[in-house]
């Protein structure tokens, strides 16, 4: 698909044409075109690894494209760095970027263009007055002499926005601007965006919250796997269509079952849940999520990026401090939610970020596998090498880990084999519940099939499995039941025949109806409606693109 070239009166304010950006081993952007018109709010959406972050960095001068280029009002430009982009009027608002936390709000707002008195010193009184004037339209009423650091995150973001706009911005890039804002602040932000548009400033709006997109944005560009898959007016899309574009599952061509290695349903060994998570709540991230897993059951956790899937798994594993909620393993509540206690209770979590949170790259396969099960493989703190060798040998054979020997460093293995090592690490602890966060991401097809078969087998043996996957097909075929999350709350649960790709997408895309949903669903307004929301969507993790 090409950018909608249908009768456009005005030339795009800024345009990326056929942009290619390569990183070692990854093609982050593969000929992406993107146009931004004056006075529009343009939603940029896509799942993990779609290339959003990379595209934003190209637009803001952080990266230089390997091929293709940028045009500013029709003129080709090449930004040498973020500074050039800023001078061209392209301002990016990230929470932390570009501000000096220890300086006062006023100094931050007018950094580099402070009013001076006759001696060439900063005229503090004028500075503070000017700062107050600048902030007034943003609904922020604070003492501008306070250090920025002492303000709330929302206020800091407003300061960043006010500064960006006051420096003659033509394009404002907002990456997940509402992820740490209170509902009232979100409303203010939306008001500001309307003002910006009225002044002819274009806004690039990146968010995973569909409600927000439909309220704020007029056009949308969908990226997937480094390619532009759709661009056009947002009003032409319904939510379901948008979700299917993001996830890459065309409604018409959902393939027949059987492409993955999952066999489908499992016998349930018993009715006492092996895992019960009740009302998991954490500010801005989780909003009363409850999930139940029975022995022998694979429960899928569906939802878009940033819907709280990983956070739910982490919370269950004791790796995310909670404001409220309990985790019950096989009838026994976890007293003190730490990873050590969760592990002891029989919870095993395969983290999404294998490199940063999973493997210990410099240690051998053997050491990595034995790591979590050490208490069981030792007596009085002294490890039994024979027992470790035996268990490591067993798992290397069972999971078919390909390596020169069990003493090879894990950092040298392929992604698929690293993932198997991590699975072995957890299986060695003889867990009751397996939390699998994207277990097959970034591993080759063969290993993927093996991991899927293994998940199946483990469930058959009576383990409870919570499966998180952005691959809808994998989710639907692997899971007996799917709990769909949206904005950190449970949006619905699919059982039996409902477990289908359409079903999951429909649940993700559904307009939240407060009484029907399982969790306290966030309030919502129809697109374009400017009335303040009673309870705007609140939860969102710091889930950012990975590329």
């Amino acid at each position: 698909m090409s950018p909608s070239t249908s009768a456009q009166p005005e030339a795009p304010l800024i345009e990326a044409a056929g942009v290619v950006k390569r990183f070692p081993g990854v093609l982050a952007l593969d000929g992406v075109s993107f146009g931004l018109r004056a006075g529009e709010a343009h939603a940029l959406v896509g799942e993990n690894g779609a290339g959003k972050s990379t595209l934003l960095k190209v637009l803001t001068g952080v990266y230089r494209p390997d091929a293709g280029g940028l045009r500013l009002r029709g003129e080709p430009v090449a930004f040498g760095g973020p500074f050039d982009a800023q001078r061209a009027g392209i301002q990016a608002i990230h929470q932390e970027i570009g501000l000096v936390p220890l300086m006062s709000v006023a100094r931050n707002l007018l950094l580099g263009r402070e009013p001076r008195n006759r001696l060439g010193l900063i005229d503090m009184r004028a500075l503070h007055r000017a700062a107050e004037d600048l902030l007034a339209p943003y609904g922020v009423r604070i003492d501008v002499r306070r250090p920025l650091r002492s303000c709330g995150v929302g206020t800091q973001q407003m300061v960043a926005l006010a500064r960006a706009v006051s420096v003659d911005a033509r394009v404002v890039v907002m990456d997940e601007p509402t992820s740490s804002l209170e509902p009232r602040e979100v409303e203010t932000l939306f008001g500001v965006i309307r003002d910006l548009r009225a002044r002819g400033i274009a806004v690039v709006y990146v968010s995973h919250r569909l409600d927000e997109l439909f309220r704020v944005c007029s056009r949308v560009t969908v990226l997937r796997d480094g390619r532009m898959v759709h661009t056009g007016d947002l009003a032409d899309l319904d939510r379901l269509r948008l979700v299917s574009l993001m996830l890459g599952r065309d409604m018409a061509e959902v393939r027949a079952e059987g492409m993955t290695k999952f066999s489908g349903d499992h016998e349930r060994a018993g009715d006492v849940p092996v895992l019960e998570a009740r009302g998991l709540t954490r500010r801005h991230q989780l909003d009363g999520v409850s999930v139940t897993v029975r022995p022998g059951e694979v429960v899928g956790l569906g939802g878009l990026l940033g819907s709280g899937r990983s956070e739910t798994a982490k919370a269950i594993a004791g790796a995310l401090p909670l404001d409220a909620g309990t985790v019950v393993v096989a009838g026994t509540p976890l007293r003190w939610p730490t990873t050590a206690n969760a592990t002891k209770a029989g919870i095993a979590m395969l983290p999404e970020d294998r490199k940063a949170e999973g493997i210990v790259p410099a240690l051998s396969i053997r050491e990595n596998i034995a790591l979590a099960a050490l208490p069981g493989l030792s007596r009085a703190g002294i490890v039994s090498d024979a027992r470790i060798d035996r268990i490591v040998g067993t798992f290397m054979k069972r999971l078919r880990i390909k390596a020169s020997s069990m003493h090879q460093r894990v950092g040298e293995l392929s992604g698929g084999n690293q993932q198997k090592v991590l699975l072995a690490r957890w299986l060695a602890t003889e867990p009751k519940v397996l939390l699998l966060d994207e277990p097959t991401r970034g591993i080759d097809v063969g290993a993927k099939a093996e991991v899927q078969t293994l998940i199946d087998e483990l469930a058959r043996e009576g383990l409870g499995v919570l499966l998180i996957s952005s691959d809808l097909e994998e989710l639907v075929e692997g899971a007996d039941r799917v709990v769909v999350l949206r904005d950190g709350a449970v949006a619905g649960e699919l059982t039996g025949d409902q477990v289908s790709e359409q079903g999951v997408m429909a649940a993700i895309a559904a307009e939240p109806e407060p009484p029907a949903a399982a969790g306290p669903a966030p309030g919502d307004e129809a697109p374009g409606d400017g009335a303040p929301a009673d309870e705007a969507p609140e939860a969102d993790p710091a889930g950012k693109d990975e590329n």
Partner: protein, 321 residues
């Protein structure tokens, strides 16, 4: 065949050479120095000389082993020299009650200061270099408050600990050998050792795997403190005096040098016990060789600096491979 002489290194993988150098370079260097001394240093091969060298290396060696554990967790312990002075002060204060109470108090002081540093690192989240720097400054000050000036003893038990031998092996060397054995056992055979290395290799992954990360860190710093106290006790026994002002000065740097030269990377995730022993021996041999051949101490320091640079270079190149 003649064409191959263009570069003798051409056939060798550079990364593998560096890896080998990091792992075994220290053994090679020690061997070279031994051979050199055997030929060119008079009296080098005499038993007395060996005994002397070993006695002299003991404090650094013991402190280095604790340091190696801390560095294995991606940390560092700058407080070791001051802990030594604190141990000396404890000996001075409690020797009146007998040697055993005095030694126990000194060890306790080491454990407590390690507990303080470890708590700051594990629970408060202070960077190791900052937490132990605070102890480096504070502990020596405290030791000086307890024992303001050099205090010498005439205690027969202490004299015996510092000077006597069994079967020709001085007690202090025996203690050092025992420490080497214990630390080696800890690293190789215990859950504590495995966890320590995993935490240094990837702390987040260790946490998510349910490891008691904070407990392990606390223990590591306590061990380092206790070992530094042991070194302080032995040094005090050897010189028969408590000298909190200068005992253990710059010991942290000697220890870090021995650890790094011995092949333990500063980035953590690995502890080389034998390598650390060799690293300490190398620095000792180097100093004595240069002294005996009438090179000024400034020359010694520059050669030491060169060796550290080579060790760090080998380690870094290996990381970025």
């Amino acid at each position: 065949m003649a064409e191959v002489t263009a570069s003798p290194w051409a056939g060798l993988d550079r990364a593998r050479v560096l890896a080998w150098l990091q792992d075994y370079g220290v053994y090679l260097a020690v061997a070279v120095l031994l051979v050199f001394n055997a030929f060119f240093t008079p009296h080098f091969l005499e038993v007395d000389n060996f005994r002397n060298q070993l006695v002299q290396v003991t404090p650094v060696l013991i402190v280095s082993l604790g340091m190696a554990l801390v560095i294995g967790t991606e940390g560092i312990d700058l407080s070791v020299g001051s802990v030594m002075s604190m141990a000396a002060a404890m000996i001075a204060l409690y020797l009146g009650y007998g040697l055993v109470p005095a030694v126990l108090m000194a060890l306790l002081a080491g454990a407590v200061s390690g507990l303080a540093g470890g708590s700051l690192v594990a629970f408060v989240g202070v960077q190791p270099i900052v937490a132990t720097l605070a102890l480096l400054v504070g502990l020596r000050g405290l030791a000086n408050v307890f024992v303001p000036q050099l205090e010498d003893f005439r205690d027969p038990a202490l004299l015996s600990l510092g000077g006597d031998s069994v079967l020709g092996v001085p007690y202090v060397v025996l203690v050092a050998a025992a420490v080497v054995a214990v630390v080696g056992f800890l690293v190789r055979r215990t859950t504590f050792g495995r966890r320590l290395v995993a935490i240094g290799g990837n702390r987040r992954a260790s946490e998510l795997s349910g490891l008691p990360v904070k407990r392990v860190l606390l223990l590591v710093y306590m061990l380092s403190g206790v070992l530094a106290a042991v070194a302080g006790i032995l040094s005090t026994a050897r010189i028969q005096a408590a000298d909190p002002t200068s005992l253990g000065l710059l010991m942290e740097l000697s220890a870090i040098t021995a650890v790094v030269v011995g092949g333990t990377p500063l980035t953590g995730g690995r502890v080389r016990v034998a390598g650390t022993v060799m690293g300490a021996l190398l620095m000792q041999l180097l100093a004595s060789t240069l002294t005996k051949h009438d090179l000024p101490s400034s020359g010694t320091q520059m050669v030491q600096a060169a060796i550290i640079l080579v060790a760090v270079y080998a380690a870094r190149e290996r990381m970025t491979r």
